[in-house]
C-alpha cells in the first residue's frame, strides 16, 4: 500500500496555496495526500510520509489565478475567507474543495451539501460572521495627532477583510486598525489606499495619547448608550446574546469580563 503523504504548511494564505500547488505537482494522487497546518501536528502518524512546504508567493499566485479563471471569483472569495479562518483543517478543506472545483467549474458553489463543499462554506460562514460583528463593534479613538485608532483582537485573521469597509467610509481620515493578537495593522492615510503593516514598525508610544476631545466623546457616548435603554424592557440576557463578551474588550461603553 502507498503510504499516506502529509504536506505541512504554515497556515497562511500563501502557505496553504503553496502546499496545494506542491500536492498537485507531485501527482501522487489526491486520495493519498493530506494537507495540514503545522500547528496541528500534535500526534504524528506512524506510516505517513511528511513533507514540509514553505510559502512561496509565485506558487501561491498561480493557484489564486487558477481559482479565479477555472472556477470563479466567488469561489476565490470563499477560499480566501476560509484560509483566513483559524479553524484547524482549513488547508485540507480548501484542497478538497479545489479538487472538485477544478473538475466542475463555477457550478461547484451550488453543491452546498457536497462533503467537499460544505466544510469551506462552514469556514467561510464563521469568518463572515466575525467580519460582520467587527464592522459593528470596532471602535475608533482619536489620538493627539488626530489619527483614529482601533484596537482589535479577532479570532480569525480578518483585519484585511474589514479594512476596505472603513476605507470607503472614512476616506478623508487617517486611521489604523491594530490587531493586538497578531501584531498586524491596517493603516489608512487620508485618500490613499490602506496598507497592511507589521506591528514592529509602529511607534507604540504615540498610540497611547488621546486627543482633548476624545474623552468628552467617550463620556457623551456612554451617556447615550445608558439612557437609550427602556427600563421596563431591561434584559441583560438579550443584550449578552446580541453582544457577546468576546466583542467587548475594546468597547469602553460596555461592561467587559476579562477571561
Amino acid at each position: 500500500m502507498k503510504p499516506k503523504r502529509i504536506y505541512r504548511c504554515d497556515g497562511s494564505v500563501d502557505g496553504i496555496f503553496t502546499a496545494i500547488y506542491d500536492a498537485y505537482e507531485s501527482r501522487y494522487g489526491h486520495a493519498d495526500i493530506v494537507i495540514t497546518e503545522t500547528d496541528e501536528n500534535t500526534n504524528l502518524e506512524l506510516f505517513a510520509e511528511y513533507i514540509d512546504t514553505f510559502a512561496d508567493e509565485e506558487k501561491s499566485e498561480k493557484v489564486a489565478a487558477s481559482i479565479k479563471t477555472k472556477i470563479s471569483l466567488d469561489a476565490y472569495e470563499v477560499v480566501i475567507k476560509s484560509a483566513l479562518s483559524t479553524k484547524k483543517g482549513r488547508a485540507d478543506a480548501i484542497y478538497r474543495f479545489l479538487q472538485l472545483g477544478f473538475a466542475t467549474g463555477r457550478s461547484v458553489l451550488n453543491q452546498l451539501s457536497h462533503p467537499y463543499v460544505l466544510p469551506v462554506f462552514e469556514l467561510e460562514r464563521g469568518v463572515n460572521n466575525e467580519i460582520s460583528h467587527y464592522l459593528q463593534f470596532v471602535r475608533f479613538s482619536e489620538l493627539k495627532n488626530t489619527i483614529l485608532l482601533s484596537r482589535v483582537r479577532p479570532e480569525n485573521n480578518i483585519i484585511t477583510l474589514i479594512a476596505p469597509h472603513f476605507e470607503d467610509r472614512l476616506t478623508e481620515e487617517n486611521w489604523m486598525i491594530y490587531d493586538e493578537g497578531r501584531n498586524l495593522a491596517a493603516i489608512h492615510k487620508s485618500r490613499y489606499p490602506w496598507v497592511l503593516v507589521d506591528g514592529k514598525e509602529l511607534n507604540r508610544s504615540s498610540l497611547e495619547q488621546f486627543s482633548d476631545l476624545e474623552l468628552d466623546m467617550q463620556i457623551f457616548w456612554q451617556t447615550f448608550v445608558d439612557t437609550i435603554a427602556i427600563k421596563e424592557r431591561i434584559s441583560e440576557k438579550l443584550q449578552k446574546q446580541m453582544l457577546p463578551n468576546r466583542y467587548r474588550e475594546f468597547m469602553r461603553e460596555m461592561p467587559y469580563k476579562v477571561k
Binding site: 452546498l112 470596532v138 476631545l213 447615550f224 439612557t227 427602556i230 421596563e232 440576557k237
Partner: protein, 455 residues
C-alpha cells in the same frame, strides 16, 4: 475638526444628550437599512443596505443611529407621551450645529451609522420642521456627511419643507401613533389622522414620481423630462430608503386583526418600507390609559412582528393570518404555524418539487433555507440530512414535508397530534418575552437576517 467646540460645554451637552435621548427612546425604529451608498472623496460616510447595529443597550435593543429629539418641548398634549405639554419635566433643545457635531464625532468613531432625528413640536410645526431641515442641511452640505439619516416629518408642516428635507434624508417617517382614528382621537386630541396621512402620501408621491428636484437652496422645480446620465447624476434622491411608521400597541382597544389590516394597507397604499410596533409603556399614568400590571405587552408585539414578516416576505395576506372571527393571535403558536395547522389539507409537500412560495409556508423553513433548497435541488435529490445542513428546522417541519415521497417518521397529519408535538418543542421567543432560547432582535429582522423567526 471642531476641537474647541465641546470642551467648555461638556456638561451642558452631556445633560442635553441625556434628556433628549431619554425622551426619544420610546420610538422603536432604529434601523439604518434600505440604501447602499458608496463613500465619496471629500465626504464622510457610506451606507449599507442591510443596516448595521453598533451596540446593544441594556434592554437588548439595537443601537444603530444617534436617536435623539431636537427638542423635548411640545405644544401638544398627547396623553401617552413623556413630552406632553402638561408634564412637569426639564425642557431643552439642541442647536442644529450641536446635533451635527455630535453626529460626525460619533460616526468617525464607528459608534453609529448615522442620525435619527425627531422632535417635539416647538412653537409650531413649521418652526420645528425648519430646525430639522437646517440640521440636515448642515450635515449634508457643510459637513459632507454621506451616512444614514432618518428624520421625522412633523405633521402639519408645509409641504415644501417636508419636500426639501426629504431630499436630504435617507428615510422619513411620520408616526401613525395609534392604529385607528378613534384611538388617536381619544389619546392625541391635538392630532388627527388626516394630518398624519397627508404627509405620508406626499412622501410616497415624492418618492414615486421624483417629480421635483431641488434647485438652488429653496425652490423646487418640476423636473424636465431629461434622462441624460449627467443630469440624472446631479439629481438628488428623495428619501431613498423609503418611509416607515410606528404604532403604539395596547394603549387603545384595537384587535390584532385590525392592526395587521392597517399595516397591510400602509404597505399597499402608502408603499411603506417598514411598520414598527411599539408595546405600550405607561410613562404618564394618565387616567385614560390602561394600567399594565404585567408590564408592556411584549409577546403581542412579537406576534405582530412575526405577522408583519409574513406580510412582507412570505406572500401572506392579513386575512389569511387572522379574521373577524379569530381577531387575536394564538398565544402559544406563532402565526405561521397557526396558519399551517388550519390548512393541513395542503400538506405534506414534496420538498424536491414544491415551488418556492409553497416552501416558505412550511413551519421550520425560512427565507434562507427555502432559497438554499431551491438552489441545492438543481444538482441533487435532497434527503432529510441535506435539509438539516441547509438550515431547515426538522423538528418543526417533519409534519408538513416529504423527501422523495417519504415522510421522515410515520406521523399523523392531524391537528391535535401536531399541536401537541409543536408545543413540546419550545418556541424560540425573545429573552424577556417569557421564553428562553436564541433570539434575533426584532428591529433587526431585515437587517441581520432571520435565523430564528418563523421557521
Amino acid at each position: 475638526m471642531n476641537q474647541v467646540l465641546f470642551s467648555d460645554k461638556t456638561n451642558s451637552i452631556a445633560e442635553k444628550l441625556s434628556i433628549l435621548s431619554d425622551a426619544a427612546k420610546y420610538d422603536v425604529a432604529c434601523t439604518s437599512s434600505g440604501v447602499d451608498r458608496k463613500g465619496v472623496a471629500g465626504s464622510i460616510g457610506n451606507t449599507v443596505a442591510a443596516g448595521l447595529c453598533h451596540c446593544f443597550a441594556a434592554d437588548g435593543r439595537c443601537i444603530s443611529l444617534l436617536k435623539i429629539l431636537f427638542s423635548n418641548e411640545c405644544i401638544y398634549d398627547c396623553k401617552y407621551c413623556v413630552n406632553r405639554s402638561s408634564r412637569d419635566v426639564v425642557r431643552t433643545s439642541f442647536t442644529p450645529k450641536e446635533v451635527a457635531d455630535l453626529t460626525i464625532e460619533f460616526y468617525r468613531r464607528n459608534y453609529i451609522e448615522g442620525l435619527f432625528l425627531s422632535s417635539g413640536v416647538v412653537k409650531n410645526p413649521n418652526y420645528t420642521m425648519e430646525q430639522l431641515y437646517e440640521t440636515l442641511r448642515l450635515l449634508r452640505e457643510e459637513y459632507h456627511f454621506n451616512g444614514y439619516i432618518h428624520v421625522k416629518g412633523i405633521p402639519g408642516a408645509d409641504d415644501l419643507l417636508i419636500e426639501k428635507t426629504g431630499y436630504l434624508a435617507d428615510r422619513m417617517s411620520i408616526n401613525l401613533e395609534l392604529p385607528t382614528a378613534e384611538g388617536l382621537k381619544s389619546l392625541a386630541p391635538n392630532k388627527n389622522r388626516t394630518n398624519i396621512l397627508r404627509p405620508m402620501k406626499q412622501i410616497q408621491l415624492g418618492k414615486e414620481a421624483s417629480k421635483y428636484r431641488l434647485h438652488g437652496r429653496n425652490e423646487i422645480v418640476v423636473r424636465r423630462n431629461n434622462t441624460q446620465l449627467a443630469v440624472r447624476k446631479q439629481e438628488k434622491l428623495f428619501v431613498p430608503a423609503g418611509q416607515s411608521t410606528q404604532m403604539i400597541i395596547g394603549a387603545t382597544p384595537e384587535t390584532d386583526y385590525q392592526i395587521i389590516k392597517v399595516a397591510e394597507s400602509l404597505y399597499d397604499k402608502f408603499d411603506l418600507k417598514r411598520v414598527f410596533y411599539s408595546a405600550f409603556i405607561n410613562t404618564t399614568q394618565d387616567s385614560s390609559l390602561p394600567s399594565l400590571p404585567g408590564g408592556p405587552p411584549l409577546l403581542r408585539e412579537h406576534r405582530l412582528y412575526q405577522a408583519d414578516w409574513l406580510l412582507r416576505f412570505y406572500g401572506f395576506e392579513a386575512d389569511e393570518i387572522l379574521s373577524e372571527n379569530t381577531p387575536n393571535f394564538n398565544v402559544l403558536l406563532d402565526p405561521k404555524c397557526n396558519w399551517a395547522l388550519s390548512h393541513l389539507e395542503l400538506f405534506p409537500l414534496e420538498v424536491n418539487m414544491a415551488d418556492y412560495y409553497a416552501l416558505l409556508r412550511v413551519p421550520g423553513i425560512g427565507v434562507k433555507s427555502a432559497r438554499r433548497i431551491v438552489a441545492a435541488r438543481k444538482t441533487a435529490i435532497l434527503d432529510y440530512a441535506d435539509l438539516k445542513k441547509l438550515g431547515v428546522v426538522l423538528k418543526r417541519s417533519i409534519y408538513f414535508i416529504t423527501c422523495s415521497g417519504k415522510m421522515m417518521y410515520p406521523v399523523k397529519i392531524e391537528a391535535d397530534y401536531i399541536i401537541n408535538h409543536m408545543l413540546e418543542i419550545k418556541e424560540k421567543l425573545p429573552a424577556g418575552v417569557g421564553g428562553s432560547g436564541v433570539y434575533q432582535q426584532l428591529s433587526l429582522f431585515d437587517d441581520m437576517g432571520s435565523k430564528n423567526i418563523l421557521m
